[in-house]
Symmetry: C2
Subunit: 223 residues, 2 copies
């Protein structure tokens, strides 16, 4: 029923335009009553973004889990990928919605407010994780905004390409840039060695010092 309403709505939006389509038109094409529509969607905007409430809940659920060995910024990037996967579930629908959202200012405004809710959820999580830092609040908000912006940048590239290929191939490099940039700045390795140290010994010491960065590197192969 829910999927039927979304499909009917998108067919009408595509054919007649979003503004020219009424909720009555949608329920008529879907063959259901008005009350059914409002059982699933509070407004016409909501039928365009049917999965965001679930994605937001999934993201919050992800943040509430334990992520042993992962720093807070890495967890925030992982949470952004929860949303990314929602887009990846149905590339054709995501691309169609992207085309619609770019054309209709009301939907663009709705989308911006949805993005803001994701960002707020991330900032809340990071504020708790950074509570002990003197600049924890500002850091939490700047990281959350950076993660969301990087995710959206990668996502838009993928949507503009028509949703071809893996969305992660667009999103992961952008998220990784934010992750590397915002990781604990004290996390720097300085290696001081005599010039006549054998290379194998230097490599060994570097390896020990690097605290297994591969373990928390994001990537589709590990998710």
């Amino acid at each position: 029923m829910r999927d039927l309403l979304v499909a009917a709505a998108f067919d009408l939006f595509t054919e007649h335009g979003y503004e020219n389509t009424t909720i009555d038109d949608i329920v008529r094409l879907a063959g259901v009553g008005r009350r059914s529509f409002f059982r699933y969607f509070p407004s016409k905007e909501d039928v365009v973004f049917p999965d965001h409430e679930r994605a937001l809940a999934d993201m919050v659920g992800y943040l509430d889990q334990d992520h042993p060995g992962q720093d807070a910024v890495t967890v925030a990037c992982g949470a952004a990928r929860v949303v990314m996967r929602m887009y990846a579930e149905n590339p054709a629908f995501s691309v169609r919605r992207y085309a619609l959202t770019r054309k209709v200012p009301a939907l663009k405004a709705y989308e911006i407010s949805v993005v803001w809710r994701y960002e707020r959820a991330l900032a809340g999580y990071l504020e708790r994780r950074f509570a002990a830092l003197p600049d924890g609040g500002a850091r939490a908000h700047a990281v959350a905004a950076g993660v969301v912006a990087a995710h959206n940048y990668g996502l838009r590239s993928w949507l503009r390409s028509g949703g071809s290929g893996e969305v992660a191939a667009s999103v992961d490099p952008a998220l990784d840039l934010v992750r590397r940039t915002w990781r604990d700045p004290e996390d720097t390795v300085v290696l001081i060695t005599r010039a006549d140290t054998p290379l194998w010994q230097v490599v060994q010491r570097v390896e020990t010092a690097l605290r297994a960065p591969d373990q928390d590197r994001p990537g589709p192969a590990r998710d």
Copy 2:
């Protein structure tokens, strides 16, 4: 006339609530006609944010200027301070609006869309500045979002304090965190010295190596 309309609107919003106040109420209290209202403000929301169009234009003007010796992230932080000064011009009004915006979802949504326009202007500037970098696009969007989030974080702290003290004292440390974090990562100084080097000599070499960081450090004293 414009100020009169804003003052009348805020008096009514405070007394009767935003939703319960009509444009007719506002023009009646201000003693002007409806057409005068619409000459200045396209909608009721706009009267709550009378200076954002100007601040956005000022910010774009700032970004278009030359900023010799400043890296792109520092210029973006300077552009955010253009908006900050708009809030600082009239602390009482800014605090009053903040209280109103927190209560009225329609105004919150409007504010989010305004913030998004600032962020887009910054991202556009940074994309041009980072055009030669392989990760320039993602970097531009992550930095722009971080600058805006840091600015808003500092601004909110100041507004919550009732607008007492210098707004820059709240905003500058947050912006500076973003600036330091996102500056060219190759911009690192490694000083290698013998353990018996006199301190004054080390200090001198550090001073030379640091490329005068004070020149582009943000701060109210220099603006």
